[in-house]
Every structure is written in structure tokens, then in C-alpha cells.
Symmetry: C2
Subunit: 325 residues, 2 copies
Amino acid sequence: MSISSSQYINPLIVQRADPYIYKHTDGYYYFTASVPAYNLIEIRRAKTLAGLAHAAPQTIWRKHESGDMSQLIWAPELHYIDGKWFVYFAASKTTEFDRNGMFQHRMFCIECDVADPMASEENWVEHGQIKTPMDSFSLDATCFEAQGILYYVWAQKDPDIKGNSNLYIAEMENPWTLKTDPVMLSKPEYDWETHIFAVNEGPAVIHRNGRYFLTYSASATDENYCIGMLSASDNSDLLDPANWTKYDKPVFQSDLATHQYGPGHNSFTVAEDNQTDILVYHCRNYTDIKGDPLYDPNRHTKIQPFTWNADGTPNFGKPVPYNYQ
Amino acid sequence: MSISSSQYINPLIVQRADPYIYKHTDGYYYFTASVPAYNLIEIRRAKTLAGLAHAAPQTIWRKHESGDMSQLIWAPELHYIDGKWFVYFAASKTTEFDRNGMFQHRMFCIECDVADPMASEENWVEHGQIKTPMDSFSLDATCFEAQGILYYVWAQKDPDIKGNSNLYIAEMENPWTLKTDPVMLSKPEYDWETHIFAVNEGPAVIHRNGRYFLTYSASATDENYCIGMLSASDNSDLLDPANWTKYDKPVFQSDLATHQYGPGHNSFTVAEDNQTDILVYHCRNYTDIKGDPLYDPNRHTKIQPFTWNADGTPNFGKPVPYNYQ
């Protein structure tokens, strides 16, 4: 590994949760995340990961005054698919819980067909909700391409399954329409997935060593929040749950010694050397949250290089301590 | 000047307006500013100015559910006076305008008497409103000590004077109580003080070369926003307006060539060498603001060294361009 953790200053970006970084063919790193007010989607870009801390954000979309996309804009991801830009995000019609005590988000997609996604918010058009057969709490969608097929992976509540959300996969007809029925890949079942809340959410996919690794976040979003993992061979049918192996322990979790609490909702990018893999995630540095954790703005974006074990699995290590001066 | 502008990455901190930096006797730089949601007061600290970009904020106070301190928390300043910490901030009871089309802020003060102001928000107690004889729109208070006297300087609306606010000074009985009647030092009168809105606000004081320099911000908070200046000899009566000279031109303003628009609401600090003076201000990098500028989050905190002219006045130069990579 040619790039060490100490090369990056952490936290990289304060008060950005659910961080997503994409390195584009133009050489820029693009960054988006949930903003503390949950009221808009912004993008920033820089030539280096460090530069993202200082890059001026551009608002590309704002929540509606009312309706399905009017509240709690969460966890945008920016994808470049067949020469166009897409953002997936979760939005709700209300800040109220439903009768099951759940938020009421659904997934939505917006598109920009000009080369520069930051040129103007007027270039972004709405595709509306990404419909799934089940109409229930949905969030944290991502997508990836494998053997020419576009897959959609997301978290969703099934009223018949205990807990907040499970992980699903489907093939896509186009970037905002499913082609196949959703297949469940994981539900919260282990202790570390069910602390306070039973949660599987925030999926992210990376392809290495002949396998697809699907990381996700589990349990409540306090110090119990942690990252779990599934994997599947890249020559298997990814829509067959039997081809996915679920790891029985978290692969990344709180480090109490260095006050890194609840690392999760990760994404993946690559360092400036185009070789070193980088884990992107958010984390808090305290557990004593006053009031509603949703409105505690201090989930900060962190980045750190990671390596690969001899058996081909990722070694994420521990959340690095803060190292700013 | 031993420290050049290029030493600092700009913008230093994105989405923080009305930035205030104080270098304490503990060697830390403390930073506070308006947050985009205007819902709380936070402090962060770092050993270097650059470190402030990455330092994790601590919430020290939250807006009330209702009443005089329930809306639009603006422009906090952190002062260390006689061994205790004080924060001055503006707050309103409503987001609505009054019958004159003005916001309805008043000034408030909170205090912390433990050494570490970031230890817990529970250490902060409220002193309530800082009362002035006139009950009207008030904001942007600062304070400074001169010859053992604590002075309070702020912006306030006088219904008998055209425009949004003028600048006042008074002596303080204690950090949250005025001792003398307010004296007006400046009102918006020049063209550059009255673009779109007639405004004098955001005062900051620096003592150099036998004089007190009082900078302030003028005109609307778009690209017209700029910094003006007053000065007074340090052996004169600072409560006598006749002892203050007002400069007829702005001392710092937009630079269209480098897309630095509306620099203002400045404060002063000193570089890591304890010698080089640093101008702290916010600025936008575009003029095409969608919707209400108040809720456009992209006023970013910038810092840059400045020098002194042969006549003893500050030379702030132009807003430096962005230089992140």
C-alpha cells in the first residue's frame, strides 16, 4: 500500500453524513452526502480527496414545498451511467412516523444529461419514485454494473419481517426502473445487526479478486452502528441469494479507545494513485447525543485506505483517529 | 509579512457565514459562525487555522422551541472576558418580517465559567437580551477592551433613520449590560453602503498603530456586500463620534475577475507566527442565487493575511481566489 492513513486529514468533511465519493473520468472526485438540514442535494468536486474539504458545494436539487419529496432528503448517491448523471436519494412526504413508528421514505431518481453535473440545477430533471412491488419505507439505494447488467441494491421495510429494513437486489430496465422482482439478500439477524433497532441499510458494492463485496450498515445509528458484509463470486447469478455469503461478524465498528463511534453508511473510492482503495464513511466522536439524533449534525465524513487479506477479502481495520492539528 | 495568502487553502470552511475566530491563551484557535440552519451555536477549535476546516464542532447552545430566542440564530461571537467565556448572538422570535419589512432580531448573551467552553453545553447559562434604550432590530454585536474599559459595538435599526441598521457604541457595566447610552458611529450614507438595502452591520475592531480600526459590512448581502471602515485615535474618547473618522470608500469588496462576491462580516485574528494579521470573512462564488438568499447555504469562510500601509491604515487587498485542488 503506497498511501497511508496519515496522508489524509480526518475528519475529512465535518457534518456530512452518508458520504458518497465518485472519481470520474474527468479526473475529479465528486462528493455528495446528507446535509444537516436534509433540505437539498449538493455536489462538490476536487482534484484530490483532501480538496473536497474546501471545495464549494453546488446545490443541484431542492426539496419540494409539499408532497412525496418534501421532507428529510437523505443519502444521495451520484452515478454516471451510459454518459448521463443520475442521483438516487430517499425523500419523505412528512417528518412524522407511520403507525409502525417508521419514517416514510421512498426512493427517487433525478437525471442530468449535460457533461458538467454542477453547471446548473436547472439541468436536473426528475424521474419520480423508483417503484418496487412493495410500497413501504425505502432508502439508501445504490447501483452497480456487472457483465453489462445494471443492478439496483437498496434497503426496504417488509411488514412481515421484524425490524426497520432489509437489503434487496434487482436488475434494472433503465436507471430509474426495475426489470426484475426484488430479491432479499440480507435481513437483520445477528446481535450486532439488531442493537436498539434491527437495521440493514446503506449498501455499497466493490468488485475485487473475482468477487462482489456488498457492505452495509447495521443496528441503530448511535455507537452501535457498524458495517457488515456479503460477498458473491463474479461468475455467479447475483440475483440468486444462495450465491451470496453473509459474514457473521461486523467488518468495521466503533473504536471506543479513539472516540470513533458508529462508523457506517460507507462508500468506496480509490486514492490519487488510482490503486489504493479508500473506505468512505461517517462517524461521531461522542455518544452523549442531546435531543433527537437525527438533528444532531455531527456525523462527520472520514476516509481511510484499506487493504486486502490473503483470502481475497477486504481488511478495513479500525476507524482511524482524528489527526487534524 | 512572513506568511503569504497561498499558505492557507480557501475557502477555509464551506457553508459558514459571519465567521469569527479567536486565538486563546491556550494556543487554540476557536471558531464560531452562523450555521445554515440557524438553529444552534457551535464552537470548534484547532491548533492551526488550517485545522479549523477539519475540527469537529461542539454544539454549545440550541434555539428555544418558542419565544425570543427561537428563530434565526445569527452571527455568534466568542469572547473571553475576565476569565469567563461569553457568546453574543442575535436571535428572533419569528422568521416573519415586521411591518417595516425588517427581521425582528435582538441581541442575547450566554456565559460559560469553566475553562473549556467545549466541555458541555450544560456549562452555558443564559443572560437574556442585551437591552438598549431603543427596542428595535439589533444584531452583530462585538466587544473590545480599551484602557480597562469594556466597549460594546453593534448594529441596530433606528425608526427615524432610513435603512436597516446603523452602528453604535456604548460602555459596558458587565459583559451583558450597557453602562452608557448608545452613541451612533455610522449610518449607511454612501452609494456603496446603500445598494439594494441601506446597511451598516457586522462590526469588528482591531487596535494597531495608535488607532482603533472598526470595520463593518455595508449594502445587501449579495455581490454588493462590502467592508467599510472607521478609525479613532487610541487616546481619544471612543464614545465621542467626533473622534471617529469614516472612510468614504469600501476597504474590501467583490472581485468579479476571480468570482469572489460579497465579501464581508469580517473578524480579525493573527497567524500561527503571532505576528501576521489575518482577515476572516465570508464570501460567495456566484451571484445567481435561487430562492431566498438567507437559505442559500453557500457563504463560505475565507481567511487571508493583510498588511499595513505607511500611513498606519490596513491594506486588506482583494479577496483571494479559491486555491484548493
